[in-house]
Every structure is written in structure tokens, then in C-alpha cells.
């Protein structure tokens, strides 16, 4: 645990000034490989580092990096917030978000939520594992919170057609406690699931159509 010095009147950073931007600019330039990224104003440029890893069409091609397409804005906002506050650790995300204001987080969430839902891979599906995963999903009621079509809503993410490696990692980390989650709901769900069930449900969800 770490006690932190006080931030006067500043539980939120809504009042922060834009002067906090230079480190972000640097990160943008580094990540987007755009040496001339001098002015951050256009949204496309702001989104570029997000989309470079998470996929420009809402479907991620990057190992263990989730697809953001079709995610509810409320869910995205929570994740950006916990990255900024280092309540959730993923170094590139902690670095990218550290100087964002609350308004920045809201604007990014709203914009990312407009990306179209991810498209599942066309190869690699294993019917037997999909069947097992379907059974695990039904037994653990994934569709209760995530919607019957697994599209998510409000603070609950879309999990249908999410990347398999990311889903498997997230579920493993919920189970080990490495990922605490915002709400403890997922920890409660996975605490008694076998590792093989976690893997099967990740496979099933990844090929969800």
C-alpha cells in the first residue's frame, strides 16, 4: 500500500490545466511513430496510439490486447479511469492515461465506443472446445450480466468475439487476484472455475457470432 500526499480539492482532476500535456505528446509521438505530431487537437491523432494497438476497425490484431469495438462507453470510461489511477496495471495504458483530465477520459470513451463490434477470426475454431465453452458459459451465466448476445451494457463489457488470448488472460488474472476488477463481480464468478473451463469459455467467446 502507498499513502499518498493530499491533492487539494482534487479528488478528481477535472480542474487540471492543459499544461499537463507535454508528456502525453511525447508518448503519442513515440507510439505513433509520427515525429511531427506537434499539435494534439485532432481526435484522429489522439486516437491513433489507441487504435495502433487495439485495431482501427474495432478488432485488435495485437496479442493480448483487447478489441475495443462495440464496448459500452461507461465500461471504457471505468477502464481508462482505473488505468490513470493505477488501480489496474498495464504499463502502456498507465503511461498513456496518466495526464488525462476527466473530460479527456470521457471524450475518449465516447469516441472509442463508436467503433464497430469486433469480428471473430475465420480460422482456428475447434467445435469440441466451443461446445465445452458454451456449456461453461451457460453454467456460469455469462449472458446474465453481459447480455444474451454478449454485447455488454453500461459498465459491463462486450465479451462476444473478444480476442481469445486476452479473454484467457483476463479470466486467469481475475482468478489469481492479479486483476482486482472495479466491481468484485468477476472475482466472484471465476473463483471456483477450473483453469480448463476458463480456457474453454475464452475459446467459445472468441468465436462468438
Amino acid at each position: 500500500m502507498a499513502a499518498e500526499g493530499s491533492r487539494a480539492a482534487g479528488a478528481t482532476r477535472a480542474g487540471r490545466k492543459r499544461s499537463a500535456l507535454p508528456p502525453l505528446l511525447l508518448a503519442l509521438a513515440l507510439l505513433s511513430g509520427a515525429p511531427g505530431a506537434a499539435r494534439p487537437e485532432p481526435l484522429a491523432e489522439r486516437l491513433a496510439p489507441c487504435l495502433a494497438c487495439h485495431g482501427e476497425t474495432g478488432t485488435s490484431e495485437t496479442p493480448e490486447v483487447p478489441s475495443l469495438g462495440g464496448q459500452p462507453a461507461s465500461f471504457l470510461l471505468i477502464q481508462l479511469y482505473v488505468f490513470r489511477e493505477k488501480q489496474r496495471i498495464a504499463e502502456p495504458m498507465n503511461e498513456l492515461t496518466k495526464d488525462f483530465t476527466d473530460d479527456d477520459l470521457r471524450a475518449l470513451s465516447d469516441e472509442l465506443a463508436k467503433l464497430p463490434p469486433p469480428v471473430p477470426p475465420t480460422i482456428g475454431a475447434e467445435p469440441a472446445r466451443i461446445e465445452k465453452g458454451r456449456e461453461v458459459s451457460a453454467r456460469h451465466r455469462c449472458g446474465f450480466c453481459h447480455n444474451p448476445d454478449l454485447s455488454g451494457h453500461d459498465q459491463i463489457p462486450r465479451i462476444g468475439a473478444q480476442r481469445q488470448d486476452y479473454l484467457a488472460k483476463a479470466l486467469r488474472e481475475y482468478k489469481s487476484g492479479e486483476r482486482r476488477g472495479y466491481d468484485p463481480a468477476m472475482a466472484e464468478v471465476v473463483q471456483e472455475m477450473a483453469d480448463a473451463d476458463l480456457a474453454a469459455v475464452a475459446h467459445y467467446l472468441a468465436y462468438w457470432r
Binding site: A3, S6, L77, A107, E111, R134, H140
Partner: protein, 418 residues
């Protein structure tokens, strides 16, 4: 704001294209037939998901998580909150993300814990202006707070810390001292409400680590207490599913506590409880065998009788999530509120027609039994949706009552007269 819609067009076109592709793919590859698939085996008894029915109505219910960023002061729904005639409701502090448990220091500092964020706040006043200071962060569900002789006690999920002379160091809080970390690390019902009793002991509950299970009673589902230095940890009472609020009667010194009933049994059963620990009473409050004092659990209740357990002194409604509570000992409110209990009901999620979402007042008989439970502060619930959710109540030195709202990240103040 740096958003510019025009620059989005390329992105949108790409998006539409991908969307069209996904639609085409969908048309070509029909989903595997669901019909004929064997029905899923239900979760095993003891599982966190046990008891969750597979019906359409139940499928619509899910826990409600609030946004992480507090609502701006001018957008708070304080005008919708209604108290009895003669009372006034106002915003005490905004910008207190996920405001949960409330405590007051000797010098008037208001301390606020959180559950979904990692922070503990101090609300202070400087030149007539209220300030919100983050006095600790990086904590794991720091819901529980207690204040005693200058020190702030903070309960994380599995650890209790002490910040000495806290009010003298709000701008640079001291490194905390670990009081005790001998608590389970389970997430379900792992967050804590804590308090220091008239016996100068620190009371720490440990919730059941599931919706409904029958865990080791020496590890879960009970209230413990220990000396203020963390020594002498002992289980005081058992059969407590999850209490997130308690206080001691001002004259009898008996401990009263709220307890949240299990989910997924039905829309209307069981009700949340207000309980009392008395010298003559039993030391087991029923979980998981008996709910609300008169209703045997459909799984765990067989072979048992509710007579074995201490019944609640009041029922607080099904799924209402009765959380923080305090006895009112102030002078500001009318005499009828003297030594009555204010109880924050966070509001149901596991119910189609939402209930709770208010502060009720339980008035007691001279023998400590409950005479009535009446609405006090209402309006948190509008058209079956929460516009705010009360978590804890705390009397200020002037007798006014603070109410925390974890949905909007705010604290309200209820006063009378003046």
C-alpha cells in the same frame, strides 16, 4: 475539449466497412445450433453462482456499478431528495468519488472511505470553502473507517491500518501502522465496515464469501473484535452474511447491526435485517440456515430450525441493501429522533421493482426492541432507476446528519430548523 467530429469521418467509414464485413460473415456462417445441446449443469451448491435461476426475469438483473468520476456539484440530484417537513437537505461535498463510510474527527474533519476506488478522503473547511483531500490511495477497497483518540483506522479488504494524529497531518499523512492483516482475502463481501465500541475494541466483520454457501464459521460470516493494537482477535457472533453497518446503543451499549440477506431466492424473500447483540441473546444470527428469523434456507435449512438462532429486531425489506447506520444522539432534530437509528438503504439490484434507495429511521421501545421503521430521506429512486444511492450516515457535532452517496461521489447534509 479537443474532440473534433470532422476528423472522425475516415474512422467512421472504416468502421462501417468492417461492420458490413462482419454482417456478411455472419450471413455465411450460421451459428452452431443451440437446439439439441445438452442443458448446462447448474452451479454446484456452495458456488458463488449457486441459486441464480435461469429465467428471463432473473436474467435482466445484474449488480449496478456507479461511474468512477464523481458528478459535478451543480448536477447532483439533491433537489430530488425529500426529508420530513422542517428538515433541509443540501450538498455538503461533491467530488468525493465513490463516497462510502463516513467518520468524523475531533476537530470536525469528515473522513470518507471508498469501495470501487482506492482512496480515502478528508473533507475540511478552509475560508468557508469545503475542500476534498485524498489522504490515502492505492488501497484495496478501503470501505471501512473508524476514528478514535486522534487516530483514523482504515479497513481494506483484508487489512486494518491506523493513521495516528491524522487531523494534524491531512496534507502529508503519516505512514500508517498495520493493526491486523489476519483476514480472508476473498473478494465477495470482502469490503468492510468497522467501528470502535464502548469497550474500546475494534469490531471487524467478515462476510460470507459467496451469495449463499456454508463456509467455515470460524473464518467467514461473522463479526470479530480485537484490541486497538490488533491483539486478541476473536469471533464475537456468527451467522452474519454481510454487515456493512453497525453502532452501539447510547445507553444500553448493545451493538445493533444491519445484515444483507441472500440473493436469487425470490423477488420478495428474504428481507434484510436489523439485529441486536444482547447478553441474553443467542450468538448465531442464522446464516446460512435461517433467513430473516423465520425462513429456512431451501438448501441449507433442512434439518435445522430458526429457533436455534437469534432473530432480527426488525426486517428492512427484500434486497434493499441496508448498509450504514447510526444512533442519533444530537440535539438538532426533534425529540422523537433521540436515540433512534438512521439506516441507509443502498437500494436493491436483485429485484425487478427496486426497493430501498432511502434513509429510514428505526425508533426503539425502552426495552431496545424496534417500535417502527419509517422513511426519512427519500427520492434516491426515480422511475425504478437510482439517481443516487445512500451508503452511510454520520451525525455531525451540531446534530445535523451527513449521508454519503457512492453513485454520484457526494455527501449530503440534512439539518433541522435554522
Amino acid at each position: 475539449m479537443w474532440l473534433e467530429r470532422a476528423s472522425l469521418s475516415a474512422l467512421t467509414v472504416a468502421g462501417l466497412f468492417a461492420y458490413a464485413l462482419s454482417g456478411a460473415a455472419l450471413a455465411q456462417q450460421p451459428p452452431a445450433p443451440a437446439a439439441g445441446a445438452a442443458p448446462a449443469a447448474p452451479p454446484a451448491p456452495g458456488s458463488a453462482l449457486f441459486g441464480r435461476p435461469e429465467t428471463e426475469g432473473a436474467a435482466r438483473l445484474a449488480p449496478i456499478a456507479p461511474p468512477p468520476i464523481p458528478t459535478a456539484a451543480d448536477k447532483l440530484p439533491v433537489a430530488k431528495l425529500k426529508a420530513p417537513p422542517g428538515f433541509k437537505v443540501e450538498v455538503f461535498a461533491a467530488g468525493v468519488g465513490n463516497a462510502r463510510s463516513l467518520r468524523i474527527g475531533d476537530k470536525g474533519t469528515v473522513f470518507v472511505g471508498s469501495r470501487l476506488l482506492d482512496k480515502v478522503y478528508a473533507l475540511t473547511e478552509k475560508d468557508g470553502k469545503r475542500e476534498v483531500k485524498v489522504i490515502a490511495s492505492g488501497l484495496h477497497r478501503p470501505n471501512g473507517l473508524a476514528y478514535h483518540k486522534g487516530a483514523l483506522y482504515v479497513a481494506e479488504l483484508s487489512k486494518v491500518w491506523r493513521y495516528d494524529a491524522i487531523e494534524d497531518h491531512l496534507d502529508s499523512p503519516p505512514k500508517p501502522t498495520l493493526v491486523n492483516d489476519n483476514f480472508p482475502k476473498d473478494e465477495p463481501h470482502g469490503w468492510k465496515f468497522i467501528g470502535i465500541g464502548p469497550d474500546e475494541k475494534l469490531y471487524v466483520p467478515v462476510g460470507a464469501n459467496a451469495n449463499i454457501n456454508n463456509p467455515d464459521p470460524n473464518v467467514y460470516a461473522h463479526i470479530r473484535r480485537m484490541n486497538l493494537d490488533g491483539s486478541g482477535l476473536e469471533v464475537l457472533v456468527q451467522g452474519v452474511r454481510n454487515t456493512v453497518g453497525f453502532d452501539w446503543h447510547p445507553t444500553t451499549k448493545e451493538l445493533y447491526f444491519t445484515d444483507n440477506g441472500r440473493d436469487w431466492l425470490s423477488e420478495d424473500l428474504p428481507e434484510d435485517e436489523l439485529n441486536r447483540i444482547s447478553a441474553a441473546g443467542k450468538k448465531h444470527f442464522g446464516y446460512p440456515f435461517c433467513h430473516q428469523g423465520n425462513f429456512g434456507d431451501p438448501e441449507h435449512g433442512w434439518g435445522r430450525s430458526c429457533d436455534e438462532f437469534e432473530p432480527p429486531v426488525a426486517l428492512l425489506g427484500p434486497h434493499t441493501a441496508a448498509l450504514g447506520m447510526r444512533f442519533y444522539t444530537g440535539e438538532m432534530f426533534p425529540a422523537e429522533y433521540k436515540n433512534a437509528i438512521f439506516i441507509a438503504r443502498h437500494g436493491a439490484w436483485n429485484r425487478t421493482k427496486k426497493t430501498g434507495g432511502d434513509v429510514v429511521v428505526a425508533k426503539l421501545n425502552p426495552d431496545g426492541s424496534v417500535k417502527s421503521v419509517e422513511p426519512f430521506l427519500t427520492g434516491f429512486l426515480e422511475d425504478n432507476k437510482y439517481v443516487a444511492r445512500p451508503v452511510d450516515v454520520q451525525m455531525m457535532k451540531d446534530g445535523s446528519l451527513l449521508v454519503s452517496d457512492d453513485y454520484n461521489g457526494a455527501v449530503y447534509r440534512v439539518s433541522h430548523g435554522g
